[in-house]
């Protein structure tokens, strides 16, 4: 029964977070951008639960729970907004939703 150093969990969280940032900045499809946001939220959840293990308190689990609830509410409203944008602009490419530009 080996044991895993805590820094490995935090490094994994950092890797997932930076992959989420990369997806958020580089992808053009709005649904993929939204999924990268969810990936970032998951990475932060992993950090919360890891710190809760280190400090031996349950508060980190509670914060992760609230992050999940907020992510659910955000996903619902965000996807409704995406549906409305698609209905009006007929495209899911964020570069094409630029009628207010210049």
């Amino acid at each position: 029964m080996g044991a895993v150093p805590i820094s490995w969990f935090l490094t994994l969280s950092a890797v997932l977070f930076s992959l989420g940032v990369a997806g958020f900045l580089f992808r053009r499809s709005i649904i993929t951008v939204f999924m990268s946001i969810e990936l970032m939220l998951n990475a932060v959840n992993l950090s919360f639960v890891t710190f809760s293990y280190q400090l031996k308190k349950v508060d980190g689990h509670l914060l992760a729970f609230f992050v999940m609830v907020v992510a659910a509410a955000e996903a619902a409203v965000g996807l409704a907004i995406i549906l409305t944008v698609f209905k009006n602009r007929k495209t899911l490419n964020i570069d094409d939703v630029d009628s207010m530009k210049n």
Binding site: L19, L25, S29
Partner: protein, 166 residues
């Protein structure tokens, strides 16, 4: 044993996360994101967070991602077409990502000594009973606030997605 479990599921999580960012078709990204969430649920179990692991699968992977998959199927979103990437993004993108990652990993390794070890069963305070006790005593105000937040989200989603009565 714990090391093997961690390595296997961490590698699955990273590969699926790379897949989310790299795949062109949104449905492949969505399925890969479900894979990330599943492997994170296993890592939560390793950290003694059994309720959060179950909530992750039930809420995140089983409801939120189903919502994503629904929207992708309803909109019939095809594979993304890459047009007009700026040269700065193309050449500085990957090095900037690697630099960000390196900075974060370095600071994590500096700040957290290797004496803190995680083994399965090290923390037993993550049972539903403990979560319930904390949720309804210390965190009662955030709990009530999130219930109002969910109500706002429901009303907002229904208003945005209904048919216009012209």
């Amino acid at each position: 044993m714990d090391v093997i479990l961690f390595l296997v599921f961490a590698i699955i999580a990273v590969v699926c996360a790379i897949n989310v960012v790299v795949q062109t078709h949104p449905i492949s990204s969505a399925i890969s994101l479900v894979g990330v969430m599943g492997s994170l649920a296993v890592l939560y179990l390793l950290l003694g967070a059994e309720f959060i692991a179950a909530a992750q699968v039930i809420v995140y992977a089983g409801a939120i991602m189903v919502l994503f998959v629904f929207v992708i199927m309803l909109l019939n979103a095809g594979a993304e077409v890459q047009k007009g990437r700026s040269p700065m993004a193309r050449f500085l993108g990957l090095p900037a990502l690697v630099m960000l990652l390196g900075l974060l990993a370095y600071f994590v390794q500096r700040l957290f000594p290797r004496s803190d070890m995680v083994h399965f069963g090290g923390f037993t305070g993550g049972s539903p009973k403990d979560i319930g006790m904390a949720l309804f005593t210390t965190y009662l105000l955030p709990f009530e606030a999130t219930s109002i937040l969910i109500l706002i989200a429901i009303v907002g989603a229904i208003v945005l997605a209904r048919k216009e009565l012209d």
